[in-house]
Amino acid sequence: MNDLYNSYDRSVANYFDKIEKHLQNPIIKSFLNIPENMDLLREVINKPSDASKKTLDEAFREYYFNIRFTTYLSQAIYFNAINYDKKIKLFSDRNQSILDRPLRGDQNGTLIDFLTSAEWKKGQDVQITSSNIGDHLTSQILFDGIQRLTDNQRQLLSLAYIYGMNDSEISIYLNKSQQAVSRSHRKALRKLREIIEADKEGRGLDE
């Protein structure tokens, strides 16, 4: 009996010599560290049969699967959570008037808190009815920039941003083609942007 047992162990040892370098593989190593799996392997080496091989194969597959699948899902969760945050950030950067978005800087509370506060109500009675876009601006740079546009462009911007008309509505109103309106709309915005950026650079150099 003792002899038999030893010969069992010897063939297992032989097998391990053969696959020695793979025993360092973390998956194989941790798989064989579990006694039940080791027993399965012994069984395959000593009494090779299709059934025992299959059992070992399945046990390993399940073991490896658990590791791979868990890693895969964990990473999927992790990266998707990060992507979701990025998406939220992009969305709130593009849509500035989200009511429950926290205010910038060191102010506490959200935009809706601010809008419902007394602070805001005080200034609310000023209603500008002018149809000239220049009268609606609070930014000095933007005001200066608007003055440098053509009359047509100013009128177009007034229609678009005071009355909220879109390009095709403006084109009907002005009796122009929609393409022409779109083009000069874009051109006006581009020019404003150039003016603002030139102004920023100019101030940057002064400081």
Binding site: H22, I27, A59, Y72, I77, D85
Partner: protein
């Protein structure tokens, strides 16, 4: 929860309750990853992640996981793993 992850995932292609069980198994991980986002978005994110997991679980090729002898072959370099980079 007596059934192993392996059988659950295998069955989840056709069996929705297995699919739910798998997602529930991973819910602690989901809850943990919610901490990184603001309170107001957590519910949305949780839902979003669960939808993603549905895809991941359903499309996971269980049979692509190598068995023991296949794994040794891969390590020997006889067989190239076809799952790399996935």
């Amino acid at each position: 929860m007596n059934e192993s992850l392996y059988t659950l995932v295998k069955r989840s292609r056709t069996d929705n309750s297995s699919l739910v069980s798998v997602i529930e198994l991973f819910s602690p991980k989901i809850d943990h990853s919610l901490k990184q986002t603001k309170q107001q978005y957590r519910e949305d994110l949780s839902q979003e992640l669960k939808i993603k997991l549905l895809d991941c679980i359903r499309n996971y090729e269980v049979d692509n996981v190598p068995g023991y002898f296949q794994m040794i072959d891969i390590l020997e370099g006889k067989e190239t793993p076809y799952y790399e980079g996935g």
